[in-house]
C-alpha cells in the first residue's frame, strides 16, 4: 500500500487494558480516544469543546446538562450513534458489578454514590430525551465546567454490542478485544506492550482523518529522541523528551520542538503529624528550598517555580503569591520553632526517575544549608504511597498531572482522602475548595481559590516545587498538531496531517 500516510506516535509506557473506564492510566485513555468518542473534550486553555456532543445546555438551576449529539455519527459497524448509547454507557459504568476503576468520574451525576456506583438498578439519572438528545441530572447545582471536565474521559460505547451481556462477560476482555467504536480511527491490530495500529475511520463525523494509518508505539523515554531523530517516530504522543536531551532535540533539523507550560506540578510532602514538623518548621523548610536552582538544574529552565498547586497557566493562578527563598530567615525560624538539633528527616522518594532523584539530592542540600539532616529512602511507587499513607515518612516527593480546575489538589489535603500523604487532620484547606466549588461562576469561585493559595503557603502542608513544561518534539512533516492540548489527553488526531 504505497503512498499510505502512516503516522507513528510514541508513548513511554504501555496501556493496560481496552476497557475504557476500567483504568487509571492516561495511556489507555489515549488509545480509547482513537477508538471511541466522548461527549466533550477540554483544551489546554480550559475551554471545553464538543466531541460527540455538538452542543450542550445547562439548565438555569445549574443542576442538569443536556447534550445534543452529532446526528451523522456512526459506529464502525454502520449503526448510528444515538442517545440510547450514551444512556447505556453511563448505566453500564455505574453498575458496581462491572469493573470500572475510574467510575468516580460519574460522581456528580444524580442517582450514584460518591464512588460513582448506582444506588439501585439503573438509578443513574442520565436520560434520552430524543434520539440525539440526552440529559444528565446532577446531584446538586454546580459549576458546570467542573462536571464537564470530569466526564471528559468517559467514553461512549455501542449499546447494540453490549446489551444483554452479563457483568461477567463485560468484565472479561474478550468483548473489548475487537472494538466497535465511533472514534476517528478503527482498531486494526496490537502487539501487546509494543504497538497498536489503527486505520482511519472514513465516516468520522468531524471529518475523515487525513492520515491513513496511525501507529501508537511504546518507546522507553530514553529512546524516544533516537527514534524521532532517525525518523522511526513522527511525534511524541504522551510523554516528554528527556530534559538531558532537550538541547539535542532543539538542534535537530528534522524536528519541531515545543516547550509547553502545563498544570503538572511536583511537590514536597511534609508529614504534618510529626511533632517536630510544626507549621513554623514547615514554613521555614519551604523557605529553604532554592526553587530557581531546581528549575534551572533539573529542568534546564523549562519550568516555573511554584508555591501552590495552581500553575501559572491556570486561570485561577494567584499571582500575588510570591516564590520564597530565604535560607537565613529559614534558619532563624527553625531556631525559633525549636526544631530539634540532630533530628534526621526521612525522605521517601520513588525509584526509577532520575529527575526525582536529582531533585531530592538538591533539596537535601538546601536543607543541609539550614542545618537540617535528611536521609533519602527510595522505593517503588506502590510502596511509597502505601508507606506515606501509613505516615512513616517525614518528607516525600510526589508529582501530579494537575488539572485546570483547581479542586484537583483537594484530593491530597483532606483527612479521609486516600492520597492524604501529608496526614492533614483538619479541613481548613479543603473547606476553602469546597466553598469555591459551591459557587457557580468563575468570578464567584476565584476569590476562594485565591485565598486557598495563600492559605496553602501559610499552612505549608506541602512545599510545592515547580511545574514542568512538556518538552515535546515532532517531525517537521507533521502538520496540524496542537501539542499543547496533548497534555489534556486530547490529540484531535483526525486533524493531523503528514506531508
Amino acid at each position: 500500500e504505497a503512498g499510505e500516510k502512516v503516522v507513528t506516535a510514541a508513548m513511554d509506557q504501555a496501556w493496560d487494558t481496552m476497557m475504557p473506564l476500567n483504568t487509571t492510566s492516561n495511556y489507555t485513555r489515549f488509545i480509547c480516544d482513537q477508538i471511541y468518542d466522548r461527549l466533550t473534550q477540554t483544551n489546554a486553555d480550559g475551554s471545553i469543546e464538543g466531541r460527540l456532543a455538538e452542543s450542550w445546555t445547562v439548565n438555569d438551576a445549574s443542576d442538569a446538562v443536556t447534550f445534543k449529539l452529532h446526528e451523522d455519527a456512526v459506529w464502525s459497524d454502520g449503526e448510528p450513534v444515538t442517545a440510547e448509547d450514551v444512556v447505556f454507557s453511563y448505566q453500564m459504568y455505574s453498575d458496581p458489578s462491572v469493573e470500572a476503576k475510574s467510575r468516580y468520574h460519574l460522581e456528580y451525576i444524580a442517582g450514584v454514590d460518591d464512588s460513582g456506583a448506582e444506588l439501585s438498578e439503573d438509578s443513574i439519572e442520565v436520560t434520552a430525551d430524543s434520539d440525539y438528545e440526552v440529559t444528565f441530572k446532577l446531584k446538586e447545582a454546580m459549576y458546570p465546567d467542573t462536571f464537564l471536565q470530569d466526564i471528559d474521559t468517559v467514553f461512549i460505547i455501542p449499546k447494540h454490542v453490549f446489551e444483554g451481556k452479563t457483568a461477567e462477560e463485560i468484565n472479561a476482555p474478550d468483548l473489548w478485544a475487537n472494538p466497535v467504536g465511533s472514534g476517528p480511527f478503527i482498531y486494526d491490530s496490537e502487539i501487546n506492550g509494543e504497538r497498536m495500529e489503527f486505520t482511519k475511520n472514513e465516516n468520522y463525523y468531524l471529518g475523515t482523518p487525513n492520515i491513513d494509518r496511525l501507529i501508537i508505539r511504546v518507546v522507553p523515554s530514553a529512546n524516544v529522541l533516537s527514534g524521532l531523530m532517525n525518523g522511526e517516530l513522527d511525534l511524541i504522543g504522551f510523554g516528554s523528551v528527556l530534559t538531558d536531551d532537550w538541547e539535542t532535540a532543539k538542534s535537530q533539523d528534522n524536528l519541531v520542538t515545543e516547550s509547553v507550560p502545563t498544570t503538572s506540578y511536583t511537590t514536597l510532602i511534609f508529614n504534618t503529624q510529626k511533632e517536630y514538623l510544626t507549621q513554623e518548621v514547615r514554613q521555614a523548610l519551604n523557605m529553604a528550598i532554592n526553587r530557581d536552582v531546581l528549575v534551572n538544574g533539573l529542568l534546564m529552565g523549562e519550568g516555573t517555580p511554584i508555591m501552590t498547586p495552581i500553575a501559572p497557566v491556570s486561570p485561577y493562578y494567584n499571582d500575588k503569591v510570591q516564590v520564597q527563598y530565604d535560607p537565613e530567615k529559614a534558619k532563624e525560624m527553625l531556631a525559633e520553632a525549636g526544631f530539634p538539633a540532630g533530628q534526621t528527616l526521612k525522605f521517601f522518594i520513588s525509584s526509577g526517575s532520575s529527575i526525582t532523584e536529582r531533585c531530592a539530592a538538591l533539596i537535601v542540600q538546601d536543607f543541609a544549608n539550614v542545618g537540617v539532616n535528611v536521609e533519602i529512602e527510595q522505593m517503588d511507587f506502590a510502596t511509597l504511597m502505601s508507606r506515606m499513607l501509613d505516615g512513616e515518612h517525614d518528607l516525600g516527593i510526589i508529582g501530579s498531572g494537575g488539572t485546570l480546575d483547581p479542586s484537583e489538589s483537594r484530593e491530597m489535603i483532606y483527612p479521609e482522602s486516600s492520597c492524604n500523604f501529608c496526614q492533614l487532620q483538619d479541613t481548613e484547606l479543603s473547606d476553602l475548595i469546597d466553598k469555591g466549588n459551591a459557587e457557580l461562576t468563575f468570578e464567584a469561585r476565584k476569590p476562594y481559590f485565591d485565598e486557598y493559595q495563600e492559605k496553602v503557603v501559610e499552612k505549608a502542608a506541602m512545599g510545592y516545587l515547580y511545574t514542568k513544561n512538556l518538552l515535546t518534539a515532532y517531525n517537521k512533516s507533521m502538520k496540524n498538531l496542537n501539542v499543547a492540548d496533548f497534555n489534556c489527553l486530547n490529540w484531535s488526531s483526525w486533524e493531523w496531517d503528514k506531508e
Partner: protein, 318 residues
Amino acid sequence: MKWKYILKRILIAIPTFFGITILAYFILNMAPGSPLDALLADPGITPAELERKRVALGLDQPVIIQYFTWLKQLLTGNLGFSYSTQRPVAAMILERLPATAILAASSIVLSLIVSIPLGIFAASRPNSGRDYFSGGLSMLMMATPNFFVGLVFIYLFAIVFNILPSGGMYSSSGAHTFGDLMKHMILPCLVLSFQQIGGWVRHMRSSMLEVMQDDYIRTAKSKGLTKWKVIMKHALKNALTPVVTVVGMSIPSIVGGAVVTEQVFGWPGIGSLMVTAINGRDYPVIMGITVMIAAAVLIANILTDVAYGILDPRISYK
C-alpha cells in the same frame, strides 16, 4: 531406557517446581506494597472502592489460603486474572512469550555460533595470539553491563550510522515481515548475548583444552588423523558435554538479562511485562511469569540432560 530416564527427570523436577512457586508466592507477599496501592495513583479512587476491590481480589484472605487458591487454579491450568487488566494471565503471557522466546532463542543460537568456534579457535593453540585475542574479547564482553552496551549500541547503530532501528519489534511502514523483525532483533539479541558469549568462550576453551589432554585424542592422532579432524571429530563432542551443562544453567540468567534488554529496547516480551507487573504489584502476573520461567528452566534442564545423553552415550546407559 531413555524415556524412562526423561520421565524420571520430570518427576524430580515437580517438587522443585512447587518449591519455586512457594518461594515466589511468599516473597511476593512479604512486599510492603499491596496490589491496591497501585490504584492509589489515581487520586479519585475512594476507600469504599478500594475495599470492594480488596474483597474481589481475595486479598482479605490469609496468605496461605491465597496460595492454595492460586495453586488450585494452577492445577486446573488457570493462572488467574491480572489485577490491573482483568485479562487472563495465561493469555497475557502467551501474547508476550513469543517475543521473549524468539529473542532468547536467537541469543542462545548466536552465543553458541560465536562462542563454540571462538573457544575452539582459542584452544587450538593455547597461549598464542589467537588465544589471547579471544580471551581478551570474552573478558571484555563479560565485564560490560548489559544496559550500557545497549545504550551505546543504540547511539552507534541507530543514530550515528543510522542502519538499525533503535527499538521495538517492527517498522512503522509496511507489513510485519520476518526480515523486518530480524532487523529489529539484531541489537537486542547482540546485547543479550554479550554475557553468554564471554562466559561460554572461556568454558569452551578450557573444556577443549582439557579434552585435548585425554588419551583418546592421542589415539586418534596415532591413527593418522590431521589436527583439525581430531578436533572436530573426536574432541568437539566430548568438549561440548560440560558446555551443555553451562548452557543449560545459563537459561535463568538469559531470562534475567532479557528483563534489562527488553527495557532498553522496548521489546514487548515477558521481561517488560514483569517489570510492569512488579511495579503495579500485579501478583497474578508476577506469579504467572515466575511459574512460566520456572517451567521453562526446568524443561531446559531436562533438555540439557537429554542433550548430555546424546553427546555422551555413557549417560543413557546407566
